[in-house]
């Protein structure tokens, strides 16, 4: 579903290499987790995958569902089925949250050559998703992330994920700023959206999120590379012993 081959990337402005050869393969139906200390490049990886213009890919390939996407715009990557839940969702004042959701939903439909939905039809789509995420309708009337609390922003990301139903969803440190109940709810949404034909990549610092989203594969990332890969028990080991022991292992 998602294949990353020898991916190198740098911060454009500072000309600073962050990713130094990431290799990763996620098959359809799988959930992977990437864990790593601060500055390991795990969040950079998710931004580079989504096409953040602040980063430049200097080598390597990203293959989504069989197609290389590293040359595609961020818009097209999203239309092709990639989604990233932001670690720090961006506030956009004056833009209605509900209208924004519909705009994004319709962009996807248009791309698939399906008819766009009007606000009324969208309401039906949205009701189910709101229930799934456990969000109040009043969220839709607010400006996009504007004045949202940290937790509200994260849940709004999960709502977008539920509405857009991507092929590959990346959750970039979604757990930071969420309490246990909210974590549990995120886990439920992921379980509900999980199918044999999609995949999830969870980026996190701590293993506690992985109690709710149980990964098939766990990777440890240090200094821009994946240094160890294992099953979910690796997450516990990393949490307990830190990252000093890994890296030398591979």
């Amino acid at each position: 579903m998602l294949e990353i081959k020898n991916l190198h990337a740098k911060i454009v402005e500072e000309n600073l290499p962050i990713l130094k050869g990431v290799n990763l393969t996620i098959k359809a139906g799988e959930t992977h987790a990437i864990m790593g200390p601060n500055g390991s490049g795990k969040s950079t990886l998710s931004k580079v995958l989504a096409g953040d213009p602040a980063y430049e890919i200097t080598a390597g390939e990203i293959i989504l569902d069989g197609k290389p996407i590293q040359e595609e715009s961020e818009t097209d990557r999203a239309l092709m089925g990639l989604f990233m839940a932001f670690q720090y969702p961006v506030e956009v004042p004056g833009v209605n949250n509900g209208s924004f959701l519909r705009m994004a939903y319709n962009a996807q439909r248009k791309f698939r050559e399906e008819e766009e939905v009007d606000p009324l039809e969208f309401q039906t789509v949205l009701e189910k998703k709101l229930n799934l995420v456990g969000m109040d309708e009043s969220f839709l009337d607010r400006d996009l992330n504007f004045g949202f609390s940290g937790g509200e922003k994260k849940r709004n990301e999960i709502l977008q994920m539920a509405v857009l139903d991507p092929k590959v969803a990346i959750l970039d440190e979604t757990d930071s700023g969420l309490d246990v109940d909210a974590l549990k709810s995120v886990g439920e949404v992921v379980s509900a959206l999980k199918r044999p034909d999609n995949a999830f990549l969870v980026i996190t610092h701590y293993q506690r999120l992985l109690n709710y989203i149980v990964p098939d594969v766990v990777h440890a990332m240090v200094d821009g590379r994946i240094v160890q890969t294992g099953d979910k028990s690796l997450a516990l080991t990393l949490d307990e012993h830190g990252y000093e022991t890994v890296g030398t292992a591979s």
Binding site: P93, A104, Q160
Partner: protein, 494 residues
């Protein structure tokens, strides 16, 4: 440099930059000129020109005197230089002060309108009859120097509402015109107001009698068609006690290499408990995108007088066109408890310059004013907010709230905010908030990462930025304004 090198450099440019360049090259939609027989006054300005115009219009004697007095005063004045806009000196002798379609038009029968003229207005999205009738908006269309069609006149008259070209008002309601014209913007006010008073050729006249709420929105469309023509129209709106009206104004012009001068005067008068909402969507030709050549100089004086107690005047403007915009729709808050409002979106792109804002002069007790200004600069443009809030000694308990937000798109444009606050009594309150932001790569990336295109993402962000002002526009205009912004900004991210 070889072709290959160029290619390399191009690939090295960020993808956004490229799209920006494409966007910037969007053409002005209304740049066509209508081929229509026109009667022109000879170029140049002197007493004879003024007599010619006055005679053409069959004006009463007092009007000619008004014009000549203004002209004599104008001769003693110097072009103002205090604004930050830059432009070559205007040769006032190189302008036609009168241009009119040759065919005489029967105002009540649209069938008699020159088909070419009708097509022009259709191209502009102003089908004079059918669509506006459905929308329930009465329209006065001004083509170069004359009003060519005013719709719904009869129906409005049944309510006592007068809506007609000002030249006609001079014939039919000379007393009203005499009483109010120049009472808000005297010819001594400024250089361009004096010029306008001397040579104005047409404009709209609105009179809403006591207690009448105008049954439909009134609308004017201004079009400069002839090269080297100045447009000097004058709008006068009078709302008697407890009367109210919503007035919309739209403007376009063809593309010429030479600059055209538009020096209009708008005067609003609101008596006790009257209310006037005046909205403008200005989309004059802005000049060549590459060179900045041509385009309209929009030097306009707009002012409203809240003469009566509890009266209210509200200005809403969406300024997207013109090479230079230089105007400050203002309110004189004379009546106690009167209210003045100014909601503005000024968008500049390419080489455009805008120096715009408002003046709120508080004279009566407990007068209240609100200023919300949104300036958006893209390309190499310059956008300035200039405002004055003045609370006189007599304005006990007066209040003002001002919010000035600027948004920058790219790094070659500029934004200035120049507010002046002058408070002369202890009980007055003023609040001022200002912000400047750059359209963030982070906001664009966020929206695009949800599958929204760059163009749409930018338009969405800018439209969100202007929401406070768009909310004030009548629905029909809000949609138009939104589209206009989207269009003007296409491919301008930097």
């Amino acid at each position: 440099m070889t072709e290959k090198d160029e290619e390399m450099i191009e690939t090295m440019q960020s993808k956004h930059d490229k799209t920006i360049d494409e966007m910037v090259n969007k053409d002005y939609e209304f740049g066509f000129q209508t081929d229509i027989e026109t009667e022109l006054a000879p170029k140049g300005l002197n007493e004879d020109t003024i007599r010619f115009i006055s005679k053409k219009k069959n004006e009463p004697e007092f009007m000619l005197e008004f014009r000549l007095k203004a002209y004599k005063h104008w001769l003693t004045m110097k072009e103002p230089e205090w604004s930050v806009v830059k432009y070559p000196p205007i040769d006032f002798q190189d302008i036609h002060y009168y241009a009119a379609p040759k065919k005489k038009i029967e105002l009540e029968s649209m069938d008699d309108v020159d088909p070419e003229l009708k097509r022009t207005f259709e191209k502009l999205g102003i089908p004079l009859l059918e669509q506006k009738r459905m929308a329930g908006v009465a329209v006065d269309a001004i083509f170069d120097s004359v009003s060519v069609a005013t719709t719904y006149k009869k129906k409005l008259l049944e309510h006592g509402v007068v809506f007609c070209p000002i030249s006609e008002a001079l014939e039919e309601y000379p007393e009203l015109v005499k009483k109010y014209m120049g009472s808000v913007v005297p010819h001594t006010d400024n250089f361009y107001a004096a010029l306008n008073a001397a040579v104005f050729t047409d404009g709209s006249f609105v009179y809403i009698p006591k207690g009448v709420k105008c049954p439909m929105d009134l609308s004017s469309y201004f079009r400069i068609n002839t090269e080297n023509t100045g447009q000097f129209e004058r709008t006068l709106i009078i709302c008697e006690e407890k009367a109210s009206v919503t007035y919309l104004e739209g403007c376009t012009a063809p593309m010429f290499d030479t600059n055209q001068l538009h020096a209009a005067v708008v005067e609003l008068v609101a008596l006790d408990d009257a209310s006037i909402d005046y909205s403008t969507v200005q989309n004059w030709y802005a000049g060549d995108k590459e060179t900045g050549k041509g385009g309209i100089f929009n030097f306009v004086t707009k002012r409203g007088k809240c003469l009566g107690a509890r009266s209210k005047i509200s200005w809403t403007q969406i300024e997207t066109g013109s090479a230079i915009t230089w105007k400050y729709p203002s309110c004189l808050l004379i009546g106690d408890d009167s209210v003045g409002e100014f909601y503005s979106v000024a968008l500049t792109n390419h080489f455009q310059q805008a120096d715009t804002g408002t003046k709120m002069i508080h004279i009566g007790k407990n007068t209240k004013s609100t200023i919300i200004s949104k300036g958006i600069s893209a390309g190499k443009s310059a956008n300035t907010y200039r405002g004055l809030v003045q609370m006189n000694k007599s304005a006990k308990g007066a209040r003002n709230y001002t919010q000035c937000d600027s948004m920058l798109i790219g790094d070659k444009c500029s934004a200035n905010t120049l507010p002046t606050i002058d408070i002369r009594n202890q009980s007055a309150q003023c609040e001022h908030e200002a912000s400047t932001s750059r359209v963030g790569e982070d906001q664009l990336f966020y929206l695009m990462s949800r599958g929204i295109s760059l163009d749409e993402a930018l338009a969405t962000i800018v439209s969100g930025f202007c929401q406070d002002v768009f909310k004030k526009l009548p629905d029909e205009f809000a949609v138009e304004a939104n589209q206009l912004l989207g269009l003007q900004l296409e491919h301008s991210v930097g």
